[in-house]
Amino acid sequence: MPVSETARSHPSYARPPAPGTSHAPQPANLADILERVLDKGIIIAGDIKVNLLDIELLTIKIRLLVASVDKAQEMGIDWWRNDPMLSSRDQSLAEENKQLRERVAALERGQGSPDTNGNARGNGGDRADSEDGGEEAAQHDAREAREPGGE
């Protein structure tokens, strides 16, 4: 990949939209594009299967990049968390997997606040009850999760 692309990730991410009304020909806000191409659009399983929830950038880093976890939760910034590409069967496993990653990331940053997990779980509802077992299983299953409806 082009090396020059890497250096500009942060500034381009924060590019403000034009003031007032704007129309499509100008470059669209990256957030708008990611929101659509990652969270909307038709899901048809291809031969290449990568569960987006296995991608740390999408499950953790984008969130930490744009906001603290707590802040994101508070503001309802969780479109990558409630990903409709997951069937309800896989939702709790993927959710748990993601929360484990969050916990690891928080610990690595040296600010392992248990509250982070508490909040992150707030809307999860149906997550599995185990917190400390089966991460491997969760990851394995989550990888299958991109198949729509488990057909």
Partner: protein, 271 residues
């Protein structure tokens, strides 16, 4: 149908088909039915099957295979480039034909795999195209007032008849919090009203999750992040309505963008 639609010969080992969208009715007699460049500059071509056409380009599986994707998706610059290219290809076709965008990263090993999917999902894809034909997506966002703009932070502490500084502070804090809540409520109600007006001029509408200020690049909290499916013929009217609402409610800081391909409305309905 064209030769390329039935030949897998163009897929040497290590190459796959990245699928951008499904459409129909694009003229495949022309030499370049899709003018936008695909990922890594590869030409975008049509893979036709049973009246549907998939827009695909070749990708290197070292970059777009399961291992490569897992690695590359961790790179925001890579993701941005792929996302923008994906969107540009979809948008170039959505202007000319009914288009059902696919989720980023839909990749098959070869054209046979693409045709298999078109066959498997044929009726649902036809239904999705029917719903978006002749229509485009518009995005409208609204924002809350600047935090602090309405909170009465310098309101003098009311006299509480002998209460100490602590009580006065608490009273003041409570007033600030109340003011903030009032401002949030007013902004939320305005967002609901704006959405109702705009929905009334659209075929369908969806409210998306508000974006974080650092994601949106906008300093104020987002109160409305909505997508509207609008007849192409009515697009200018819709934009004019949005502009009028923006003038009537400058405090909402409306941002209108469109026309987008119908990302938020092209869905496979289970039947």
């Amino acid at each position: 149908m064209s030769e390329q639609g039935t030949s897998d010969a163009g897929h040497p080992a290590g190459r796959g088909c990245y699928v951008y969208a499904v459409t129909r009715g694009l003229d495949d007699g022309g030499r370049a039915p899709v003018t936008a460049s695909g990922l890594r500059g590869e030409p975008v071509r049509l893979v036709p099957h049973a009246g549907l056409q998939a827009l695909v380009s070749d990708v290197d599986l070292a970059e777009f295979g399961e291992e490569g994707m897992r690695r590359n998706l961790e790179d925001l610059a890579w993701l941005e480039e792929v996302a923008r290219t994906h969107d540009a290809v979809v948008a170039s076709v959505a202007e000319r034909a009914p288009t059902a965008p696919l989720r980023l990263g839909t990749i098959t090993y070869d054209e046979a795999g693409v045709r298999e999917r078109l066959a498997q999902w044929h009726d649902a894809l036809v239904g999705a195209l029917d719903r978006v034909e002749g229509r485009a997506e518009w995005s409208v966002k609204a924002f809350a007032p600047q935090p602090g703009a309405t909170a009465r932070t310098d309101q003098p502490a009311p006299s509480t008849g002998g209460a100490g500084a602590g009580a006065a502070y608490l009273t003041r804090r409570r007033a600030q919090i109340q003011a903030r809540h009032d401002a949030d409520r007013v902004a939320a109600e305005l967002a609901d009203r704006l959405h109702a007006s705009l929905s009334g001029h659209s075929v369908a509408s969806r409210r998306l999750q508000p974006q974080d200020p650092r994601l949106s690049g906008h300093p104020r909290p987002m109160t409305l992040n909505a997508a509207y499916l609008v007849d192409r013929a009515a697009g200018e009217d819709f934009a004019a309505l949005a502009r009028r609402l923006a003038e009537e409610h400058p405090e909402a800081g409306l941002v209108v963008a469109g026309p987008w391909p119908p990302y938020s409305f092209a869905e496979l309905e289970e039947s």
